[in-house]
């Protein structure tokens, strides 16, 4: 449907007083939220950082330009982001084809393997990879027994980072690209085949175009992940491949204005690049409308690969990927039964296995209380973000190409400009004193501050993915509903929302899982009596306070988190997925 420009006056005339009131209230809520929770705190932070002493200070630019380390790290980030987008894109598409499009033996098991990245990430995931590939990892030890002269430290540098991240960043593909694959209309595939198109041609010219909007969206996410890479470069990058984000984090953790301004400068460079990319992608997306035009969709039937050689190769590829995905998870679970020294030296010794760590952790209130706190916060934040964004996206959808729609969209994308540490700082600094726009309350040490923080950091991702889902909507549905006399709200509630629900739920599940172990936000914002899980886990390996079982306990926590995440995904997405099929 083409968005037709209707003058404001006419639009107002068409609305009932109730609708006008609702629009005003919603508008006020969004404007307040964007200003009070994001723009004002961030501006306050930037003013503090760049205008220390009254005048604009550009010293940090000079310092950074002079620093070869900073420039090299920045360059590495900008090398990693595009290459990672490419490799993750290729692997991601192949995963979706293997699980949803081609007829591959055992595809259900394969799919479970490929979905493991949804339940863990960050430090835990990289540790898992190191159990396999690092100098005392399983694979390296095995290879060294065959080739005694090999360099045991082979898994380091750019390629190691790229490898680890390529296989760990396909989560979004497994959810959103897979959903898109399911909306491919099989009739189009059949038609193409009847006209004599080859399998490869159909894939390229019929299937891929339908995937494009989702592919755009997930590629942006991958690009940002690459740009802001943290754990993988730190843990396997070695001296040659360090990226900029760890440096930003450290500068942000220092107390001086000068260090903070370095952090802000660097993060703005990353943030602005992200925004530029986003704008370009949005423009491309707007130009083409790639949706399938069929009204009666037929579910896709899995395709047998005709060429036997190709079929064998694809099967091998699929199972090699499966092994790459699954082994780190298996090792993490196994090592979580072991003790700290065996984990740190990566020696798998079954005689050290016990459930002792699990038992001691689950017996203490102070250990499982953070679980409850984090679960409550994450669930609440995921729901609030979801609601806010669905309403916002509906507005944007109806006001395509209007200034207010664009402003709202970019307003909600703002948190991509700064890393979460800085956003947390902006909130704590701004609300350590009463502000009129926050009802004259100081929010420091209240329960609500962390919730605001959680909501904010999940806005851009939620926004981007939900918007993609709105774009994928068949406008005919809405038209049909309206023609039948349904009101605006009724149409949204009973027609549009149910179609979006699986995606919205999937996003909420991902947000929930992501927030569960958050440390950066929690560290500064949590209320003293309610520590979150991320804070608790981090403290296990803090220096001078740690105990000898600290490392082992982090793995126990990691496994428990994986279980919770898997349950949530099953409840939300597993079911959502089935509903999808029923459709």
């Amino acid at each position: 449907m083409q968005a037709v420009k209707i003058p404001l006056k006419t639009r107002l005339k068409r609305m009932t007083p109730g609708q006008i009131a609702l629009t005003c209230v919603m508008g006020a809520v969004f404007i307040w939220f964007i200003f009070a929770c994001m723009i004002l705190p961030i501006l306050n932070l930037l003013r503090n950082v760049f205008f220390d002493g009254g005048s604009l200070s550009l010293v940090s630019f000079q310092k950074l330009f002079k620093s070869s380390k900073a420039m090299k790290s920045l360059r590495n980030s900008f090398i990693l982001a595009p290459t990672l987008s490419l490799t993750v894109g290729l692997v991601g598409i192949s995963l979706v084809l293997i699980t949803e499009y081609f007829d591959i033996k055992g595809s259900k098991v394969l799919r479970l393997g490929y979905m493991t990245t949804l339940i863990y990430g960050g430090v835990t995931l990289v540790s898992g990879y190191k159990f396999v590939y690092s100098n005392n990892g399983v694979l390296t030890t095995f290879l060294a027994s065959i080739f005694p002269n090999m360099d045991k430290n082979w898994f380091t540098g750019y390629w190691a980072v790229l490898f680890t991240m390529t296989f760990s960043c396909t989560s979004n593909h497994m959810i959103f690209l897979r959903n898109a694959m399911r909306s491919v209309d099989f009739q189009t595939v059949e038609a193409a085949r009847n006209m004599g198109a080859s399998q490869w041609y159909i894939l390229r010219r019929v299937v891929l175009p339908v995937l494009l909007p989702s592919l755009f969206a997930v590629t942006i996410l991958t690009f940002i992940t690459g740009l802001c890479a943290m754990s993988a470069p730190l843990m396997v990058g070695g001296t040659n491949f360090q990226t900029i984000n760890p440096m930003i984090k450290q500068f942000a953790d220092m107390t001086t204005t000068s260090a903070k301004s370095l952090a802000a400068t660097l993060s703005l460079i990353l943030g602005i690049s992200t925004m530029i990319l986003l704008a370009i992608m949005t423009a491309i997306e707007r130009r083409g409308h790639y949706m399938s035009v069929s009204k009666v969709k037929t579910k896709i039937v899995k395709q047998k690969i005709n060429n036997p050689v190709v079929s064998v190769l694809v099967h091998i590829y699929a199972y090699v990927l499966f092994i790459i995905y699954v082994i780190p998870v298996v090792l993490i679970v196994l090592f979580s039964l072991s003790d700290s020294s065996h984990i740190s030296t990566r020696q798998l010794d079954f005689s050290t296995f016990s459930l002792q760590n699990y038992a001691s952790l689950l017996q203490k209130t102070s250990s499982y209380r953070p679980f409850l706190v984090s679960i409550c916060y994450s669930a609440l934040a995921a729901v609030i973000v979801g609601l806010l964004v669905v309403v916002a996206c509906r507005f944007i959808q109806k006001h395509r190409n209007s200034a207010s729609g664009t402003a709202l969209e970019y307003g909600l994308m703002l948190p991509w400009l700064l890393p979460s540490t800085m956003i947390a700082l902006s909130l704590i600094m701004n609300y350590s004193q009463p502000r009129w726009y926050m009802f004259n309350r100081t929010l420091v040490a209240t329960l609500v501050l962390l919730l605001i923080g959680y909501v904010i950091i999940k806005l851009p991702f939620t926004m981007r993915m939900t918007k993609a889902a709105f774009f994928g909507l068949d406008d005919a549905l809405e038209d049909a509903s309206k023609n039948l006399g349904a009101g605006e709200f009724y149409t949204f509630r009973r027609v549009i929302f149910p179609v979006l629900l699986p995606t919205v739920m999937a996003i909420a599940a991902l947000n929930f899982n992501g927030l569960l172990t958050d440390y950066d936000m929690s560290a500064f914002l949590y209320s003293p009596a309610y520590p979150t899980l991320g804070v608790k886990i981090k403290s296990l390996t803090d220096e001078m306070g740690n105990s000898s079982d600290g490392v082992a306990l982090t793995f126990v926590y990691a496994v428990l988190m994986m279980i919770i995440s898997a349950i949530v995904l099953y409840l939300v997405y597993g079911r959502g997925g089935r509903d999808n099929i029923k459709e």
């Binding site: 380390k69 843990m235 450290q250 030296t345 105990s547």
Partner: protein
Amino acid sequence: MKKFLALFLALAMVLSLSAALAEEAKGADVKGTGVELVIYTNSGTSGRADWLTERAAQDGYKLTILEEGAGAVQQRLINEGEATPCDVVFGLNAIIWNDLISRGIVTAIDAPSWADEVSAGLNDPNGYYYAIVKQAILLAYDTNQVSPEEAPTDWPDLWEKEEFWTKYESQIKLTGGTTRNVLAGILTRYVDPNGELGVSEEGWAAIEAFFAHGTPVVDGTDLYAQIVNDASPVLMGQMWSSGADQYDATYGTKTGYATPEVGIPYAVEGVAVISYTKNLEEAKRFVEWFGSAQIQGEWSEKFQTMPANELAADKAPASQVAMCSIPAQNIDWALVAENIDAWCEKIMLEYMQ
């Protein structure tokens, strides 16, 4: 509100006066009144926070303990400003203490009765913080692999003698307390008011060499895991004293350490009252109770640390007593606190690998 506060303060004064009149209690005998205290610390892990909450409850204190890394505690206090719910902070180290003092975040209090029992030079001379636990910051190695004769005797050996190159760990994160103490211990040897950031050119050259010749830390892998790993060249590095014992127990190593002539830096964990506390009297009572030889002795026994209170020293393990008997290096902590961030910034931008 003001009236209420005035009334409250008056009441508190009357209470404390009457307490003073009725034979002053000391140390662990000072019981809490049940007013809730919020306590920030970086020394709350491994069950310390739980233990303290329970132990304090037995004596009438109601504590809510926030435990985080030292840097995070510092940032939090700075950014929360007057709105902070925190009453008492303990743990940290001299660098952070001096920063908090200069920002007016902690307040000076009258010396608790146990202040004289603490080893000389550890308490803040102006009464802002009082020491509770000593952590020696060591240059540690495994005697199973390096004999004490071959080992370095002081930090400069690492970069000045080629035999140690690549064998020691150089840090990649400069926000940790141990790292900052080590850097302070090196840089304050080269104090020069005319030098860049108060350090002479020679000092910066030393730091450059220190970072150039080390093997960078692999994030997520601790020093001792590298020491026992044959595929890693690392054999030595920085360690805090209570960690040395723990890692030895974990990895089967036997820690040896350098005893430099100039002495070593100590991370002094202390206790202080926040300037903005609304529970000043209870906070002071808690300080009096917490630092007493009785409570510090129990703490030390339970968590194998070295108490600053000499009357409790016999409760600490012999290894800790030995490590913490190395003389303290003479360090101007106020100078360090003022400059450490700028120093770390320079190192990160210019010298780190």
